[in-house]
Amino acid sequence: MRSLKARRILGNTLIYLLLIVMSIIWIAPILWLVLQSFSGDGIASRVRFVPNTWTFNNYIYLFSNFTNKVDPNASVSALDGKFFTWFMNTFIVAIVTCIISTMFVLMTAYALSRFRFKGRGIFMKLNLILGMFPGFLSMIIMYWVMKEIFHLDGSYWALVIIYSAGTGMGFFISKGFFDTISKSIDEAAMIDGATKSQIFWNIILPLSKPIVIYTILTSFMSPWGDYVTSSYIVGLQNIDQWTVAIGLYQMVTSNDYVTTYYTQFAAGAICVAIPTTLLFIFLQKYYVSGVTGGAVKG
């Protein structure tokens, strides 16, 4: 009896030790970034964990409009006072994309779950195969389509089209969820005279809250954090159309600014993380049931 208890204690100790080590590994980079964002050491802070001097100036820099400069002697930079613009651009892109693509995904999923039509099987298989190709294979053609057909090169609205256009393909999880909702509910509604559209909006959607939330979350996340597509579509010359990803990347990589904006970059990275963190905190319970929702057929 005693040895059993001892073994349990030993086992738990080992597991907790492992968990502690792992959580340090996971949390340390984030903590480091937070500390950097309050550092007044400039570029030197990159080699330190805890800053020598503490300041809020990095955050003030990001959100000041430079009619009143933080440091009046600081040299002019194209990045000054732009962070808020980029933040709003990204926000608009992410919100609009989120709305459009959530609709696309749910409607496609509903159609494929409830209707039986010619080519349905082929369509789903083809979709599966197409989904295996990474999206950036279409980079160059996307650029030319946006430039020559839509004349949207250099504008973040092009991003909205690109991000949302293909999202209908990601219907699998939602379809799996819709499949679990009994068809007899649809039939009952039809007997009462509901159209297919009414069934979707008034019956299926309210019953599928977790999957709707999950779709909204993922649709918001991908445009919010994307760098590759936004950088080649918007272009480095259109600074007012940049998304935060481009702006933050430029802050630490462009030769013109490389030693200047390190701590401001850290502050920017924290600001970018805030909306997604909030979303996750408030929607977490739905998120978990959403991810697993489509997995079990009842």
């Binding site: 050491d41 030197a44 802070s45 080699v47 194209a78 250099g154 480095l236 030769n255 600014y257």
Partner: protein, 435 residues
């Protein structure tokens, strides 16, 4: 059928007119036209300079139609060339572009930028420092107007700890640092710094590393080949000596490698007393000094076989270049504006506005510059006398080889080779391959 023929004739005529107009671009020198809007891409700091110079010009110009008309877009010098290469006809494409000189070869190779000829070429070559002209050169053609030679490295040091005579030789500097228990930083395992030991005029020469790109007639692919003599007997003796000198200092921590952040942090906590870096560190270092005095000078010398060798460096310039995919009128106006923006007076104005180091021969010696030049800029100018032009010397393939040589110098490991001669011959042989 007849209509088709007419169309072909008309198109040919238009094309011919276009071509002859293209030819004219390089003969007519002053061309400012208020109806020709010049899109300019340049670094944000340049906006005030352009505004100042163009406003002055336009105010003097009585003829309303002969004024410059431009639109400024801020694009970092390090991104301008690469961005334009992706799509020269991008929306609001620039006619005039301020880019780093290492973009020139790529842009010229793809036929995106205009080669200056005749009077235009002569003006550029006559008026500017040789290193800056080399920056604008590709396959013996001049492709732009040099603005500044501001990229490069030299020695920053703490003048409260080190005297001027401590930093004249590499041996002396390291010995002094060790005796004080302090550190010296040079990022030796980095192709951009390691050439410092070889391209010295006292050793292999500033033109000892050169690359050329040409289309291989065998398969039609554009290939790069290098000429490099870093495997000659003197260079091998020097590298062997340097490795013997530097390895013990690197092992005991007196010699550090690392980049900007390590330099700033080291100067802040006073562990570092000297570092090889560039003008971009000036602001951070001044802030880090905390009462001590910051100083800058050319790189030190080292002595091998009783011969004193001045360490070399890489230098880089910024070039105004013209997009030849734009309409001819825009090209002409852009050339005229570039000419105006790079005169002696304009370069001095640029220095006063944004501390940009001039490369116009007269501007460099002008009191307005020499009396007000910053520590870093002055040291860079001293060092530029011994510098190799990076845009002519190195491209993609060099960096890994330079890094390997630098790594071997500080840790003395030659891999499968036993002598420095074999090692250097192997590395230089890799460079010489046409790829």
């Amino acid at each position: 059928m007849k209509a088709n023929k007419l169309l072909v004739l008309a198109l040919t005529a238009v094309a011919a007119a276009g071509l002859s107009a293209c030819g004219n671009t390089t003969t007519e020198k002053v061309y400012s036209d208020v109806n020709t809007k010049i899109n300019i891409w340049a670094t944000a700091k340049e906006e005030a300079v352009i505004k100042n110079i163009v406003d002055t010009y336009n105010a003097k110009q009585k003829d309303e139609t002969k004024k410059f008309n431009y639109k400024f877009t801020a694009v970092a010098e390090s991104d301008a060339g690469t961005t334009l290469q992706k799509d020269p006809n991008v929306k609001d494409a620039p006619a005039l572009l301020l880019c780093a000189d290492d973009h020139i070869s790529g842009l010229a190779n793809k036929g995106i930028i205009l080669e200056l000829k005749g009077e235009f070429k002569k003006t550029v070559v006559d008026n500017n420092t040789p290193v800056s002209v080399l920056g604008a050169t590709y396959n013996n053609g001049i492709y732009g107007y040099p603005v500044t030679s501001d990229n490069g490295y030299f020695l920053w040091y703490n003048a409260s700890t080190l005297q001027e005579n401590d930093v004249t030789t590499l041996e002396g500097l390291l010995a002094k640092a060790k005796s004080l228990g302090k550190k010296v930083l040079m990022d030796i395992p980095n192709g951009w710094y390691v050439n410092s030991f070889f391209t010295s005029p006292d050793l292999c020469g500033t033109d000892s590393l050169r690359f050329a790109t040409e289309k291989d007639p065998a398969d039609g692919v554009v290939k790069t080949s290098y000429t490099c003599n870093w495997d000659n007997a003197n260079a091998v003796a020097a590298v062997e000596y340097l490795s013997g000198l530097l390895k013990p200092y690197y092992t005991d921590g007196t010699l550090m490698v690392g980049s900007n952040e390590a330099i700033a942090a080291g100067f802040q906590d006073k562990s570092l007393i000297a570092a090889v870096s560039g003008t971009w560190m000036e602001g951070d270092l001044e802030k880090a000094m905390d009462g001590d005095t910051l100083a800058a000078t050319k790189l030190p010398t080292y002595t091998v076989n009783n011969k004193t060798i001045q360490m070399s460096s890489f230098t880089g310039s910024k070039i105004y270049t013209i997009n030849k995919t734009r309409p001819v009128a825009e090209q002409k106006a852009a050339a005229a504006l570039a000419d105006l923006l790079t005169t002696k007076e304009s370069q001095l104005k640029r220095f006063e506005t944004r501390q940009s180091i001039p490369c116009n021969k007269e501007a460099v010696n002008d009191e307005r510059y020499t009396k007000n030049v910053s520590k870093g800029a002055k040291a860079l100018e001293q060092q530029n006398a011994f510098a190799a032009v990076q845009a002519q010397s190195a491209e993609g393939r060099y960096w890994d080889i330079g890094k390997a040589i630098g790594q071997a110098i500080i840790d003395g490991e030659l891999g499968t080779y036993t002598t420095w001669k074999d090692f250097m011959e192997y590395q230089v042989g890799l460079l010489r391959q046409k790829q």
